[in-house]
């Protein structure tokens, strides 16, 4: 019986590679990605603004004042006064709570519903798949804004309903990408192996399939955040959003629209905030996509 030379006898001290968990690797990738970092910084600032807004009283934001009508921007009214003399700066800061919460909650609704349905469709296939995909296609066929308008009309104008409306319109894309992801993974061997040792279907979905199919979902979630904010703002702009005295950013722009010639500041600043917020989420989304996509790794 010939002896296999013991590997450790001949190989010198193996160079200790810093081992990182998968999560650690992703975090590291993100840290190196400038746009993702920029996005995170802006989001952090926005969160600060949000926290700051909690200290502003609703009354302060809605109180009208004839003296301050169309007040030009200065130290006390950095964004000026609107047609009812309200402080636009305070209104904008206060309004951050709407846009940020709508963005996040609506995207969350789309994600949870979409991923759930998409996983079922992808995993079970057959009739379940057909029904879910058909329903999703019908939902996707209706132009998003129009559907949102109709839903709001039915449910009435309020923050919750806006969240529901925007959330619902965002479901189809998650169904589609989750299903695609699940279909790819389902056929991988480690799933077969899990089933072979007797894991239940549901357990396989949640412990094997989803964690590995997560990256496109995460990336879509971040872009969905930005998109939700824009759709919500657009609906508010058209008059379907949060009811009027509440200073949602889209509503603010809509209000400022009529005075665009004389006081362009009224619509410019709130709109700028929308853009910056969405930009932050898109930057983060891009950074995540680069970090999570193994193909792009050098």
């Amino acid at each position: 019986m010939s002896k296999i030379p013991n590997a450790s006898e001949t190989v010198p001290e193996a160079k200790q590679q810093k081992k990182r968990s998968r999560f650690g690797e992703i975090v590291h990738s993100i840290k190196r990605n400038k746009s993702a970092v920029a996005g995170l910084i802006i989001i952090a600032l926005l969160l600060l603004i949000l926290i700051g807004s909690l200290f502003i009283k609703y009354e302060a934001v809605t109180a009208t004042s004839t003296a301050n009508r169309f007040r030009t921007p200065d130290l006390e009214f950095p964004f000026g006064g609107d047609n009812m003399g309200r402080n636009v700066f305070l209104r904008t800061i206060y309004g951050s709570r709407y846009s940020l919460s709508i963005g996040f909650l609506a995207a969350a609704i789309s994600t949870v519903l979409g991923v759930f349905l998409g996983s079922l469709a992808g995993y079970y296939g057959g009739l379940v798949d057909d029904i879910i995909m058909r329903a999703s296609d019908v939902l996707a066929s209706i132009p998003g804004m129009l559907l949102g308008m109709v839903i709001i009309t039915v449910l009435g104008q309020s923050l919750q309903n806006l969240i529901i409306a925007v959330g619902v319109t965002g479901v189809p894309i998650f169904v589609r990408i989750t299903r695609a992801s699940v279909l790819t993974i389902k056929n991988q061997e480690y799933v077969e192996a899990s089933r072979a040792i007797g894991m239940s279907h549901l357990r396989v979905i949640f412990t094997q399939v989803l964690p590995n199919g997560l990256s496109p979902i995460i990336v879509t979630f971040t872009s969905s955040l930005g998109l939700s904010i824009i759709v919500a703002a657009s609906l508010s702009f058209l008059g379907f959003g949060v009811p009027v005295p509440k200073p949602e950013w889209g509503t603010l722009v809509s209000a400022g629209r009529n005075y665009i010639r004389t006081s362009p500041n009224l619509m410019s600043f709130p709109g700028l905030f929308i853009m910056i917020t969405v930009l932050a989420f898109n930057l983060l989304g891009d950074g995540l996509r680069d970090a999570l996509d193994p193909k792009l790794k050098k």
């Binding site: 019908v138 209706i142 804004m145 657009s234 722009v253 629209r257 410019s268 898109n282 891009d286």
Partner: protein, 318 residues
């Protein structure tokens, strides 16, 4: 191939049924009815009853829906609850305006986005690329109505070059077209860039170079020849997106398109008109997607193979 097209078109029918039901039911359930705007303090109880009877408000939802579907099956979109004008007429007269806008946006957007995207991909990682990516990211983050208002501010009020909107002549068309084009451009550039990037890293380019094919030809024929396929579909689908988002742009620029008309219909609680318009928009949206898919099949031999007769596919012996 034909079977596939037919199948997709036939699929429209259940879609229409579902969409119409959803919209109809939702609008119907909404608080307030069409007659609210017609009733005032002075209206007598009999008049109110007559109005209710006229709009079948005294009957259940199913009845109204049934009546609507019955007419729809005959191709009749009905009359607007408010103005009693034909929904079909209103839609059809305004559709060209929206299509015109979307097409213009497509042309403007693509003319810039495709070269820009290709350029960014070829210089990936360098300054050109970073600049392009930043630019498109900002473009994607802008709400359409804000961009529209900014453009109006700049070009209409400060510079006075073009009117702020309306539908009087070509000059009124410029700003909304440019606005839509810019928005479309952001997404198209990104997609072009990533398609091009993927192609630029592919092995068959290396094979082409190893054959001694001149670099210019490698890029033009081999790289672009493959990259333009996903680009084409992005363009096609962004046409659909701009169609959907037309509501906002048309509202800001007071452009007489179908988007704006739908918004007005919803606001007025005009169930028939809303339903009709949304159904029509949905049909167009679906047809557009079908055209895009067919285009894809037309230009990509791999996809084409999936749709052509299975009998023709030879079993390639190893």
């Amino acid at each position: 191939m034909l079977r596939y097209v037919l199948k997709r078109i036939l699929w429209l029918i259940p879609v229409i049924i579902c969409v119409s039901f959803i919209v109809f039911a939702l609008m119907d359930l909404a608080p307030g009815t069409i007659i609210d705007a017609m009733i005032s303090e002075a209206t007598t109880a009999e008049d109110i009853a007559a109005l209710r009877a006229k709009y079948d408000l005294d009957k259940p939802l199913i009845y109204r829906y049934g009546k609507y579907m019955f007419r729809l099956a005959q191709g009749d979109l009905g009359l607007s609850d408010v103005s009693q004008t034909s929904v079909w007429d209103k839609y059809i007269t305004r559709l060209p305006n929206t299509l015109l806008l979307s097409l213009a946006a497509l042309v403007i957007g693509s003319a810039i986005s495709i070269p820009m995207g290709i350029n960014a991909a070829r210089h990936a990682g360098k300054i050109t690329d970073t600049a392009t990516t930043t630019f498109t990211l900002i473009g994607m983050s802008m709400p359409s109505f804000w961009l529209a208002l900014l453009l109006i501010l700049l070009f209409s009020y400060y510079l006075g070059w073009v009117p702020a909107g309306g539908n009087k002549g070509f000059s009124a068309f410029i700003l909304p077209a440019v606005c839509s084009g810019l928005l479309l451009m952001a997404n198209s550039t990104r997609q072009t860039r990533s398609s091009m990037l993927e192609v630029l890293n592919s092995d068959y380019l290396r094979t082409a170079r190893a054959k001694g094919v001149p670099e210019k030809v490698v890029i033009r024929k081999h790289a672009l020849g493959n990259a333009w396929i996903p680009i084409l579909t992005t363009i096609g689908s962004s046409l659909g997106v701009s169609l959907a988002g037309s509501a906002v742009i048309e509202s800001v620029f007071a452009w007489p398109g179908v988007g704006r008309a739908t918004v007005d219909a919803v606001l007025a609680r005009d169930v028939t008109e809303t339903c009709g318009m949304i159904i029509m928009s949905t049909i167009i949206y679906v047809l557009l997607q079908l055209i895009v898919d067919l285009m894809y099949a037309f230009v990509d031999p791999r996809i084409r193979a999936q749709y052509t007769n299975r009998k023709k596919k030879r079993r390639s012996a190893v």
